[in-house]
Amino acid sequence: MSEADRTIEALSLIQPDRSIVENAEILANHVLQSLASTHKVCVSMAGVRGVSSSYFNLLLRRLVNAFDVDVVQDRVMFRFDSPVQEQVFRRSLEAIKKAA
């Protein structure tokens, strides 16, 4: 995958007083807005701790509702901060692909 045109720092969007799912919605909206103006977007999960599967489920579902799974995989890259983040993401992605 080539370099992304824009990097979104997920941590900078986290609002601790909002629920995990609401935070996923905020990130999803941000990614969708960025995809409207740039071709490739990188989402950096640096510093985000304790993401549950719901966080990635909602984020990916919102993206897949707007674009095909293949398009999402081509245009959105994720940079993970820990093995658990990546494992949870991979499993969410598989489930979203199955459901698509």
Partner: protein
């Protein structure tokens, strides 16, 4: 050390835990009031999971425990008290912290999404110095896993089947957009891979992790109105204690 079985809603858990804590100095904060919370503390099995028969230390009650905390919403800060609890005792590897936060958040997200519990849920935790283990309990008074799954899978006729399905994964009531049927399954596997142990109690069934990591699901004579998740995770020794960059 003998555990009191009187009024126990979860004799299986008590039996497994029996005798493990000999020699550990522990202190526990049990809720004094309101009376309903105190009753819940005993009835749910939280006292046995966390207190294990030990006397409470009134001088430093929060040194080794996270007192009972009631919540209704899953948010990123929910796991903070548990992380701070462990950090008071040992250097916490970042990977361990991530797993611990993940496990806590996965459980509380399930409560928010599925339980329909009138009281939300309660969370508490304890750090065991000797085995360097953190124990977490989250219980609710909701509709139970079977009732939730049955909306989408009519063949889920009892709690044992429901537990079997959610632990295997890919069974979701899809109560909300963020559900994919992965939470409990991945939680189970995360605890297993970390060398911990887990019990999930729902209605009249309990799933207990066996030595090989597979669930042993049994039916109990008692009915627990809701769901309880009890897990323990060992905390590894960091290269240098307290070397974590606390933010």
């Amino acid at each position: 050390m003998q555990l009191s079985r009187a009024g126990c809603c979860c004799g299986r858990c008590a039996a497994v835990l029996e005798g493990r804590q000999v020699g550990h100095c522990i202190s526990v904060v049990a809720p004094g009031k309101p009376a309903e919370l105190r009753a819940f503390w005993s009835f749910s099995g939280l006292d046995r999971w966390l207190q294990d028969g030990a006397e409470a230390d009134t001088e430093h009650p929060q040194n080794v425990t996270v007192p009972l905390l009631q919540f209704a919403q899953a948010h990123f800060l929910a796991s903070d008290p548990i992380i701070f609890l462990v950090r008071r005792h040992v250097g916490l590897l970042r990977e361990d912290e991530d797993y611990l936060r993940y496990c806590v958040n996965e459980v509380i997200q399930n409560v928010e999404d599925h339980s329909r519990s009138p009281i939300g849920a309660v969370l508490c935790a304890r750090f065991l110095q000797g085995p360097r283990q953190v124990r977490v309990a989250v219980t609710d008074r909701g509709v139970g896993i079977a009732s939730t799954l049955r909306k989408r899978y009519p063949d889920v006729t009892n709690a044992a089947i429901a537990l079997q399905r959610v632990i295997a994964g890919n069974y979701s009531a899809r109560s909300r957009e963020n559900n994919a049927g992965l939470g409990i399954s991945f939680l189970w596997n995360a605890v297993k891979s970390l060398g911990g142990t887990i019990f999930i109690l729902s209605d009249d069934a309990i799933a207990q992790m066996q030595a090989d990591g597979q669930p042993n699901i049994i039916i109990r004579p008692q009915q627990w109105p809701g769901t309880g998740v009890f897990f323990s995770i060992p905390v590894r020794m960091s290269v240098k204690e307290n070397d974590y960059d606390y933010e």
